[in-house]
Amino acid sequence: MPTSVQMVWLIVLLPFLGFLVNGWMSFFRPEAKRAVGVVGVGVVALAFVGTLFVVAGLAGHPHDAPFIVPLWQWMPVGDLVIDIEFQVDQLSAVMLMVVTGVGSLIHIFSIGYMREDRSYPRYFAYLNLFVFFMLVLVLGASYPVLFIGWEGVGLCSYLLIGFWYTEEANASAGKKAFIMNRIGDFGLLIAMFMLFREVGSLSFAEVFHAAPEVFGTNTAAISLITLFLFIGCVGKSAQIPLYTWLPDAMAGPTPVSALIHAATMVTAGVYLVARSNVLFAMAPSVSLLVALVGAVTALFAATIALKQWDIKKVLAYSTVSQLGYMFVGVGVGAYAAGVFHLVTHAFFKALLFMGAGSVIHAMHHAYHHTHNEADPQDMRNMGGLKKYMPITAALMWTATLAIAGVPGFSGFFSKDQILAMAFARGHDGGLFYLVWAFGAIAALLTAFYMTRLMLYTFHGPNRTGDRESEHLHEAPWIMTGPLVVLAVLSVVGGVINLPHILPGAGWLEHWLEPVLHGSVEFLGEIHISAGLEWGLIGVATLIAAAGILGAWLLLKPEALQDVAGSPEEKGIQRVLYNKYYIDELYDRIIVQPIVWLSNKVLWRVVDVFVIDGVGVNGAAGISKFFGWIGTRFQTGRATAYFVMFVIGAVWLLSLTLGG
């Protein structure tokens, strides 16, 4: 085992130390912002450097992996022995790179974005803690260790969504995220229990080694296990039906949305499916379900994004939609393509979120200076910002072209690969064509809503207000710097996994081969002819062009209106603006019945009557009754006591003598 891999625990420890230091600072040195920033960014940047060494070490031993780094024994309970150990292999290395690399850039951006916040040290403490848990998640060598990270990132997500907790809406958004994730976590727990019952172990190495012998393909056991695993992923990665928490999670600071709710945490579900690829490959029906849920989510969320006015809400639904693509990828068995899209999405979505953060930052300042109460996140209040923020506009256009799938950009290659794989699986069942069609339509909508976002934000006349627009400024270099790096990655990121028809193709696929070979035995290689691939690329290009040009022609940037001038939405537009009323529906069919049940039954009947009445007061009443009987003998007359004493003595005597 290379030394750098043995020292992998250092990478995990660093952000935790950052959390401790910044946590201490938040109580005792809240004004020491420079020190907080240095520590907060430093530990993650050092973790990134460490990751580079680990990846270098791993590249030298491509066939020895996975390396298991044991740390200590956690809980030995009978047959169940859970060790805290880390697994370093090609998949966790990719995730390490994304988490620490993109994470570092977002930390640097945060220095500028959060500069004026009172709770600056607390922010960095949470952010460092998040990176720590995310690293535990991607490095854990067994399901329970992964679960520690899984729950930990959920906690940090909750803390950071409700970061500005003095506003009730933010606090409830945090709660919503936490509770919806809990539903998914329940699925993951059940899956772990079932795995332990069937296999007798929970470590990745043993489970994946034993699985082909323990389970048959498509048996009930493996289908149920993968189904419950997928329920966990649905919660964490915001897929239908548990996606509603992610758009609300935008209540947190924007860099948090970039890091947690776009680049890393929400992709944990994709990682889990890719990690368990052997299990999912043995359950083709559940895999198809994964692909279908992904495809429906991709299309569904993209339609909602069409009519959102809040710039972050558009990006949030876009993230839900793109996560859907990743699930299509891992669902059709193209695990490498799913991970590939995970990586490129981390680049361009983090860039989009932080670009939006720069815009919100500028808008907030403009409104703050002029004491305007308007919403700084509403795109109808923006417009023409490219004049004031040229760098941000250029960078966000780069990311937009990437996510829209313009040829040459990273998002084009990853999205095209997923769709091509879905199409290629078509001979296994017509539903795969449906998956492909949904993905293709969603791609068209993606290009459309992203162009719409850009037009509303950066083009046409400025609608911020005359007084306000004087205060609009480009973000400082500490915020644009990380964006430049991400923009470069968004453009060239595609080279890590070019399609088969190009030279130097499939590097990531080759890199991940040792992790994925187990599933290839069940699925076989997915073949796609060069002609078909060229055809699909052509279709994808047409779709992207149609989306971008269509948006430009339909919206006419010069004619965009501000909030007051916008006509009221009617019909389908209104349904889209209100997100299909899904939140209202959930409120009606789930939240309100539970509240009713809790209020009328659980509180008034179970708690007040059964527990308090029958239980607690009942037990007290019985004691009191027997006590009352006792008091009747307490007459206070010595003679009466003596009578009882004599009766007792005679009785005892008769027992002794008679026995």
Binding site: T635, A638, T639
Partner: protein
Amino acid sequence: MLLGPALGVSAILFSIGVLGVLMRRNAIVLFMCIELMLNAVNLSLVALSQQLGVDGQVLVFFVMTVAAAEAAVGFAVIIAIYRHKETVDLQDLNLLRG
């Protein structure tokens, strides 16, 4: 020697004491009945020590000592009660009622 009659007298004395405590209401009479019971026990101890060794006789001294102390405390209590309530009739004394 005369063990049976001695134990018989003892039993009769003890029963008289018990009945006295149960049936009389005057506290002082009650006290005398208690003394009667104690002395009945003393009598049987002495009688039995003829055959079972000197232990019984030693115990009698203890009983007499305790009886004397108890009588002193008991009469003091009765006098205190009389000063307070101007009666020593047990029927009127029920301060310990629960």
